[in-house]
Symmetry: C2
Subunit: 386 residues, 2 copies
Amino acid sequence: MKNFQFKNPTKIIFGKDQISKLADEVPENAKVLMLYGGGSIKKNGIYDQVVAALDGIDYEEFGGITANPEYETLLEALAIVKAKNIDFLLAVGGGSVIDGAKFISSAALYEGDEPWDILSKRIRTSKGIPLGTVLTLPATGTEMNSGAVITRAETQEKLSMGGEGLFPVFSILDPSVVASVPQRQIANGLADAFTHVLEQYMTYPVGALLQDRFSESILQTLIEVAPVILDNPADYEAAASFMWSCTMALNGLIQKGVPTDWAIHMMGHELTALYGIDHARTLAILTASHYTHNLEAKKEKLAQYATRVWGITEGTTEEKAKAGIEKTTEFFQSLGIKTKLSDYTSESEGTAAKVADRLAARGMTKLGEKGIVSPADVEQIVEMSY
Amino acid sequence: MKNFQFKNPTKIIFGKDQISKLADEVPENAKVLMLYGGGSIKKNGIYDQVVAALDGIDYEEFGGITANPEYETLLEALAIVKAKNIDFLLAVGGGSVIDGAKFISSAALYEGDEPWDILSKRIRTSKGIPLGTVLTLPATGTEMNSGAVITRAETQEKLSMGGEGLFPVFSILDPSVVASVPQRQIANGLADAFTHVLEQYMTYPVGALLQDRFSESILQTLIEVAPVILDNPADYEAAASFMWSCTMALNGLIQKGVPTDWAIHMMGHELTALYGIDHARTLAILTASHYTHNLEAKKEKLAQYATRVWGITEGTTEEKAKAGIEKTTEFFQSLGIKTKLSDYTSESEGTAAKVADRLAARGMTKLGEKGIVSPADVEQIVEMSY
C-alpha cells in the first residue's frame, strides 16, 4: 500500500425530507447566493423546497448554469458575488452546478487578474468562500470532494481544478429527487460513477486489500441497482443506494493508498469539448479501448474484477481480463448507452490525432497510473473506439 | 435505508515514516501534553521517533495510562493540563491511551464539579481541547471517531462517552508499529475490529446495499490478513491492511443508514469490569451466544454474511445463519482466542444475573437493534457463554 493522507470534512445530510434542514446549516447572518441550472428544479418541486427552507435568510439567486459549466456564465455569477458581498454559496443541482459553484467559490478569493488561470495554471484552492449543496442528480461525487471541472467554449477547453478549500461545508442528499431525473441522466450517472471507481481501481495490485474490496462493493452495488432504478426511478431504496454509491465513488476514500489512472477522463474531456458528447458517454466510449490497449499493464486487476464483480472464474488471467472488459461494455449498453464514437459523430478523419495533440499541448503526454500512455497510445485508443 | 448524517473531520496520515510529520500537524505555539501507556513505546522506538518529531515544540509528558483507562489516573493527567495551561493533547498509544486522552480533552473544558458525570450522565462533548494521535496498536478505531470508553475501578464501572468535539484533529498511522505488538494484542485487535463490524452489520436488512458490502469488505480483509499478520507481524503489507481495516471498522461510515446492535459490547464491558477479561475476548465469548439467542431476528443477515463472507451457499436461511455463527467462533479460535467464559473465570454462580442487573441498574433493559434484548435475555446469553 502506498502512503497516503485522507481528510474529508464535508457533512452529509442524507435521506427523505432533509432539504428542510438547510436553514440549520447555513451560517447565521450569511448573505447567500443560490445557484442552479436550467430550471428543472422549478418543475420538480426542489426549488420550492429550497426557497421554503431559506425563509428568513438573506439570499440572491443565479440560474442558468448548464451542463459542462461554462466559464463565461460563471463570471456573471462571480460579478454578483462581488457586487452583493455574498459570503455563502448554495448550489442546488447536479455535478455541473456544484462544480460551477466551486469555481465561483475559488475565483471570489482569487487575487490574480484572470480567474481562468486557476484552471489553466492549475492553481490549487486552499480557501474559497464557503459552499453548501443540495444534490439533485447522483453522478459525479462532487458533493463530497474538492474537485471541479469547468469548460470554456471560446477555446473548446475542459479543465479541472481542486484544493482543500473546495470541500462543500455540507451537502444534502435526498434520494427522492431521483424520481424526477430523466432516464438519460440516470444512465449517465450510473456510467459516470462506475467509471470513477474503475479509474481508481483498474491499475495494478499494491496489496491494498480493503480499498480493492470497497471499490468492488461500489461496482457491485451500481450493477445491482441499475436495472431497478432505470425501470422505476421512484424506487426510493434503489435510489438511495445509487446516490450513496455515486458519492462514495469519488469522495477520496477508495483512491487512498493506491495508484490511479484517470486517462479515460482526460481523453473523454476532449471528446466532450470537441463534440459536446455527454461526459459519461465519452467514458463508456473509451473504457474498453483503453483497457484492451493496456491489457498487459492492467490484466491482473482486470482478472480480479472479472472474478469478484462478474463471477468469472474460468480461464487464464488474460482470458478473465478480456471477459471483464466485455462485461463492462455490456453493462454500459444495458444502461442504453452506445459505446462507439461513431454512434455520436460522423467525423472520423483526424479525431484521434486531434485528441492526442490537444492533450499533448497541455503537457499530458504520459497518462495513466504508470505514465506510459503516450500521445501515440491516445491516438490508437481513440482510433479503436470508433 | 435510514436517514443519516455523516461528518468525520479527522485527518489521517498513513504509512511508513510518517511520525516525523508530527511537527507539521501540531498547531504553532501549542503547549502540548504527550500521553502514553505503560512504556512499551520506549522499547519499540516509537517514543524516540515522537520526541525527535517534537523538537522545538513546548511539551510535557504523562505516562502510565493502562488498558481500560482508569478514571483516577486520568484525573492526574487532567491536573497537569490545568496546572501547565496545556492546549493540545498528543496521545501516543493504542485505544486505551487515545480514549483516555479524549476524556481529558472533554474534562478540561467541562464546567461541572465531577468529571465522572460526563460518563455517568452521558453528557455529549461538543468541544474538547484539540487532540492528535500516533496509533501504536490497530484495534478500536478510536483514532478516527468521536467516542471513548473509560473505566472506574472504585465502582467497577466501564462507561462510554462521545460527541463531535472528540474527533482527533489528526491521527498518524504507521503500520510498521505492528511489528512490535505482542501476539496477544494483535489477536485482540483482529477480534475487536471484526466485532465492531458485526455490531453494525448483523441486524436486519434495510436495503443499505453499499453499507452491507463495505462491512463485508472489512470482514473479508480481516479474515485474509489474520493468519499472515499472526505469523509475521513485520509483514508491512498485511499490517497496513489490518490497520486501515480497524480504522474503517469504527469511523462511523458503515453504521450510517443502518440499524446497529452493540449489545455484545454492552454485555462485554460488564465482563471486563467484573473479571478484568481483555475487551476483545469478552466479545469473542459473547458473540455466538448472542446471535444464537437472537437467531430469529438476525437470521437473514447472518445467512447473507455466511454466503458472502464465508462462501456458504447450501442450506436454508436458518442453516446458513447457524453455519455463519460457527464460522465466526472458528475465526476467533483461529486467532488463539478462547471463546467460553469458563476459560477465563472459575466463578460460575450468579455471573449471568450480575451482568443483567448491572446493565439494568443503568437503564439498559432494552438492548440490541430492536430493543428486544431484556435483562432476562442478557442472563440467558451470558449463561450460554459458559
